[in-house]
């Protein structure tokens, strides 16, 4: 099992290398001059050339790529922002706790509400409760997050003066962003959980368990849910992967100073170090999350764990 994990981590390096080359190449060919953005339209051609020279942007593609890969993978230096000359890693790190906090809160609500409600829907299939939750979850999935965010700002902020509409500070600043960020996730999770549990509920082993007189709660949580968890884990894994990158809209609407806003302003300003650095960190995070989800599959389903172990043994035999 450890061998499997190490192999995956080694693949992570290869993935990050490919992502780096890809994002570098895309930015190299994207139109737009960061020098003109930094210096303004009133700058002369000479001033812009000098500015680009300072940052090595007048070098050839291969020269720039070489320097970038060397700095990133050997010196672990993601560079400094063009606009405020601060290290990308430091700026990203300063914002990460907020975005991570927001994302994890949304994910927690997603799990705490989504899974039980999905189970409830499945167990009360075709009743009024099931239909009501189905309608609500479809509403939740259809509503754009930013639209809901704007509505909540108007209602709870401007009209009722109940909650602050922007910024960070007390716990009150987190309420609306968390709600806006989690609604669609909860709705999706309800639908997925309902579907997964319904598939399992008809299985023979559940009928057998009932016939043996096992209490219903035990049937649900010890027999049904573990078997229904695989697709739910995939959904949650994807949601977890979006924890950092997916909150950009919520952060923009609520002026929540997180990673999403940092990336957005960097993209608008053609701040290449910021864009490259953020994409690379996000890619690493996403790849790591995928690995965690795969390992979680193994924990939930012993058959999958056995596959990982046999894969490792097979690889070891081939090496020998």
């Amino acid at each position: 099992m450890w061998r499997y994990i190490v192999q995956r981590l080694l693949w992570l390096v290869v993935i990050l290398l490919c992502v780096s080359v890809l994002i570098f190449t895309i930015l190299f060919f994207v139109p737009g001059d960061p020098a003109e953005i930094a210096l303004g339209a009133e700058s002369t051609l000479d001033e812009r050339y000098e500015w680009r020279d300072e940052y090595g942007l007048n070098d050839s593609y291969l020269e720039q790529l070489g320097k970038y890969l060397y700095n990133t993978f050997l010196r672990f230096d993601l560079g400094k922002s063009y606009s405020n000359k601060t290290p990308v890693v430091r700026e990203f790190g300063a914002r990460l706790p907020r975005t991570l906090g927001l994302g994890l809160l949304c994910l927690s609500i997603n799990i705490i509400l989504g899974i039980p409600l999905g189970i409830t829907c499945a167990l009360h299939r075709n009743t009024f409760l099931d239909h009501l939750l189905t309608v609500l979850s479809m509403l939740g999935m259809c509503m754009p997050g930013f639209w809901l965010a704007l509505l909540m700002q108007q209602f709870f902020g401007a009209k009722l003066h109940f909650l602050p509409v922007m910024g960070v500070g007390s716990w009150k600043h987190w309420v609306m962003p968390v709600i806006a960020g989690s609604i669609s996730g909860v709705a999706g999770n309800v639908r997925q959980t309902r579907s997964a549990v319904l598939e399992t509920i008809r299985a023979d082993f559940i009928t057998t368990a009932r016939a043996k007189g096992v209490p219903e709660n035990n049937i649900i949580y010890k027999h049904m849910l573990p078997n229904a968890l695989i697709p739910i884990l995939s959904l949650l894994g994807g949601a977890f992967g979006h924890v950092i990158s997916g909150t950009v809209i919520i952060e923009t609407v609520f002026t929540f100073p997180g990673v999403g806003m940092y990336m957005l302003t960097g993209t608008q300003a053609r701040d290449y170090p910021v864009i490259r650095g953020c994409v690379l960190i996000l890619a690493a995070f996403s790849a790591f999350v995928v690995l965690l989800v795969d390992l979680a599959y193994g924990m939930v389903d012993p058959r999958i764990k056995a596959q990982y172990v046999s894969y490792s043994k097979k690889s070891k035999k081939e090496v020998e």
């Binding site: 139109p31 737009g32 001059d33 210096l39 303004g40 001033e47 401007a158 300003a269």
Partner: protein
């Protein structure tokens, strides 16, 4: 049957929700109506445009009651508090740091000494105190007071001034400093600046003296972040709290160095004890934040969004002339049909600035004014006589447009109109005007940064919509748009005309006369080189406790310099 009924209910519920949300628009975000709408009269709530920035006050007669407001919270668009960043948070840096000079009363007004010693110097063509310059030479001498200290108690000397200028230059966010050779400290209170040529263009000296904050070298080196997340200046405020991309808090500083009230300019006043600048870039969020009380005022809001604050018990709406203009470029290169002067005239006569402004103002407030020349009366070098001249800018004549189009041999070819996609409100109206006049116009809209990459390609566009601004003179607007040095030997719209360049150079000279400026404008009109469209009016949403505001030369609200009343 049940499922069908449920689906129907669901669809109706979703539609109802969406319509309810859309209908709750309270005027915070407006879309521009189509250009085919007839011009409408201004609504009763029209905001009056002040006559130039000198009158940009809530109440022109308000005097300083010397009331110190305890706290004020407002919005901040740019969040870079580094004094080296010229595109940073001006409201904060201007309060924490000072320059050698400041403008007396905003854009286009004379400079007044701040750190520069008002008791020395004065031997220069501008009559500027604190500076000596002999005409025909490339040396400029500045004198500073010998009792300047910063918030940490560091004494500011000439070597700190030199250090500040060098750091600002090396940060590489200032432009137009290419002719400065060096700065040197002659003694503790004297700085000499040497240039490669005498600075004879209008605005060149201002571009140096009003673009560099002065700070202590020791304070800069002691700063753990190089003034990126903290700061120490000579201004009346200190930074007490900073949350990246969220907020910055400033409080008045004990022991401000300039104790002589007669020498203390308006920019150095501290009429609010504490201010909190909150990073908000979106106009809708600004409106909601003000309505909810999260911020006390909005320092910069597009005038089309002021609706909720008109006739409001809590707020005043104060409008001020933006320091820029919106204009249309026609591609004068041989690659474009617009190189034909008749074709340019055909386009110009098909556009009505007045109609355009009326359409843009149809939301009920005056957000735009039509232009009659490439500038407006905010700038001291603008000439009022241009307002009444009859030319293609002031005249809208479809018959003339058709005549010129026929003369140019226009046969319905597609004209490509390049623009940034955040300007669609104005550009679509222009497109409609031209289509109504019989032109086939296709928009090429991209994000602003991509637009600049197409701008240099003479085959990529025929028309280009742009904005430009200036913080000192109208001729700087001309320079930004038309200086061949910025575009590699031709203007932004590919004009290659020695006479045009000569007249522009004369107009930009620091000793230029009104005749020089008029000569440039008249030549531009004769050849159909420039087309100004409208100027914008920006707005501030102020609480009733503010009786008078003061804007710096970048049109930034200065919280310390405003006048407040109690309650």
């Amino acid at each position: 049957m049940k499922k069908k009924a449920l689906s129907l209910v669901l669809v109706i519920a979703m539609l109802a929700t969406m319509l309810a949300a859309c209908g709750s628009n309270n005027g915070a975000a407006q879309t521009t109506p189509a250009a085919t709408a007839a011009p409408t009269a201004a609504a009763p709530n029209e905001v009056t445009l002040p006559e130039g920035n000198n009158d940009a006050v809530v109440s022109a007669d308000a005097e300083n009651t010397n009331y110190i407001l305890p706290e004020l919270t407002f919005d901040l668009g740019q969040f870079n508090i580094n004094p080296l960043a010229m595109r940073g948070a001006g409201q904060v840096t201007y309060a924490v740091y000072e320059m050698l000079y400041a403008t007396e009363n905003g854009i286009g007004t004379p400079m007044t000494p701040v750190l520069a010693d008002a008791n020395r110097g004065g031997n220069n063509s501008m009559g500027l105190k604190g500076m000596d310059h002999e005409a025909g030479t490339t040396e400029y001498t500045f004198y500073i007071y010998d009792y300047i200290t910063d918030a940490a108690g560091n004494k500011i000397t000439a070597s700190d001034v030199v250090f500040s200028f060098e750091q600002t230059r090396d940060y590489k966010q200032v432009t137009g400093w290419g002719d400065i050779e060096k700065w040197e400290a002659v003694d503790d209170t004297t700085v000499k600046m040497t240039t490669t040529r005498e600075l004879t263009k209008k605005g060149e000296i201002e571009n140096i003296l009003l673009r560099c904050y002065i700070f202590s070298e020791k304070a800069f080196n002691d700063s753990p972040s190089g003034f990126t997340t903290d700061g120490c200046g000579t201004g009346p405020y200190i930074i007490t709290d900073f949350v990246q991309d969220a907020s910055v808090t400033c409080e008045t500083r004990e022991g401000y160095w300039q104790t002589n009230a007669d020498l203390r300019p308006r920019s150095a006043e501290a009429n609010v004890q504490k201010f909190v600048a909150v990073c908000i870039t979106d106009n809708n969020t600004k409106v909601t934040a003000a309505q909810s009380g999260d911020i006390d005022m909005i320092s910069n809001l597009v005038t089309t969004a002021v609706g909720p604050f008109l006739n409001n018990d809590q707020f005043n709406v104060h409008s001020f002339a933006a320091n820029g203009i919106h204009y249309l470029d026609l591609n004068c290169s041989p690659d474009s049909i617009m190189s034909n002067p008749d074709m340019r005239m055909a386009i110009y006569y098909a556009i009505s600035n007045e109609n355009l402004a009326n359409i843009l103002n149809a939301v009920g407030v005056t957000a735009y004014y039509p232009l009659t020349a490439f500038g407006h009366n905010l700038f001291s070098d603008y000439q009022e006589k241009w307002d009444t001249e009859v030319n293609y800018v002031t005249e809208y004549n479809l018959e003339k447009s058709k005549e010129y189009a026929a003369k140019a041999g226009y046969n319905g070819e597609t004209l490509y109109f390049l623009n940034a996609n955040d300007t669609s409100g104005i550009v679509e109206n222009l497109q409609n005007m031209l289509i109504n006049a019989g032109f086939n116009v296709e928009l090429k809209s991209y994000d602003r940064n991509t637009v600049t990459s197409y701008l240099g390609d003479s085959t990529a566009w025929d028309l280009y919509y742009n904005m430009t601004n200036s913080s000192d003179y109208m001729t700087s607007l001309w320079s930004h748009a038309m200086d061949p040095a910025a575009f590699g030997g031709h203007t932004e719209n590919f004009i290659v005309d020695e006479r045009f360049n000569e007249l522009l150079s004369n107009a930009l000279n620091v000793n230029s006369t009104a005749e020089d400026l008029d000569a440039f404008w008249q030549y531009s009109v004769e050849n159909g080189y420039l087309y100004p469209l409208v100027r914008a009016v920006n707005s501030m949403i102020l609480p009733k406790t503010i009786s008078n505001v003061w804007l710096n030369d970048k049109n930034n609200f200065m919280p310390g310099a405003a006048y407040y009343t109690e309650g």
